[in-house]
């Protein structure tokens, strides 16, 4: 696929089920999750599942690389919450055989209130993009 400035993705809804969060915590060996208190989900789990949702709409070519990341965690997210993610291409260009794109992601709860936002900088081989 090719990125174009202004291109939008989503909205994709996803649920942070206890099983999914348990799988994530095990995969990253998060030993600090108890410090979040209550049933709060690790914030990077929210980010990972949001990115998973976006990837379902903007499949990246093999060899794509994550070059940078900005994130803001607006509020703790609880187990079982259903969220929705949207994405928008802020910038896109080509250089030396690679596409470089910055994608903004916005994650909101069932009431439409923001819970997380951020920007990912991605590179992908031009011939495959």
């Amino acid at each position: 696929m090719r990125f174009e400035k202004g291109q939008r993705f989503g909205e994709v809804r996803f649920e942070l089920t206890p099983d999914a969060v348990r799988e994530y915590v095990a995969a990253v060996e998060d030993g600090a999750v108890v410090a979040l208190g209550g049933d709060a989900v690790p914030p990077m789990a929210v980010a990972a599942y949001a990115v998973r949702g976006l990837l379902s709409e903007m499949p990246l070519p093999p060899g794509s690389i994550h070059a940078g990341q900005e994130l803001e965690f607006v509020r703790p997210v609880g187990l079982g919450e259903t969220l929705a993610v949207t994405g928008r291409v802020l910038s896109a260009g080509e250089r030396k055989g690679w596409t470089l794109a910055t994608v903004e992601l916005d994650v909101r709860d069932g009431a439409g209130q923001p819970v997380m936002c951020g920007r990912a900088t991605l590179t992908a081989p031009v011939e495959a993009a």
Binding site: V28, D30, M44, R52, S56, H66, R75
Partner: protein, 135 residues
């Protein structure tokens, strides 16, 4: 531990294996063969599989959670650049220290992850409302 400038956050150290990378690919749904297919990855400039950036970033987030507790999930911010690839067999260390405390009470930390050779994998800044001092 105080939130004074210079205060070191307790590092998080993880041993990376291909099995762990595969497990993260499964959990996150990111099946980029650069992470999971040794034959494909060998044909890339990396010469072999590498860990997902978001997996390495999760180690850094664990460090921030351990230091700031719920405040990290309730107003935490980060901005990082990936500087190098983490590979199966690497020992990844996430570390950081307080660089400033803003007037509105945010604690800003310089953060990074390095491998066992001291090579930088990512660096940047993470900040947190200072409801809780780093511990």
């Amino acid at each position: 531990m105080s939130a004074d400038v210079g205060t070191q956050l307790r590092p998080v150290v993880k041993q990376l294996t291909q099995e762990k990378i595969d497990r993260y690919a499964e959990a996150s749904g990111d099946g980029n063969p650069l992470h999971t297919d040794p034959e494909y990855a060998a044909s890339t400039p990396f010469g072999g599989t590498i860990a997902h950036g978001m997996l390495v970033l999760a180690y850094l987030s664990e460090m921030m959670t351990a230091a700031f507790g719920r405040a990290w999930a309730d107003g935490g911010r980060l901005k990082i650049r990936f500087r190098g690839a983490a590979r199966p067999g690497d020992t990844v260390t996430a570390s950081g220290h307080v660089v400033r405390v803003t007037d509105d009470g945010r604690v800003a930390c310089a953060v990074e992850c390095r491998n066992q050779a001291g090579e930088e994998l990512l660096n940047g800044e993470a900040s947190c409302p200072s409801g809780e001092a780093p511990s």
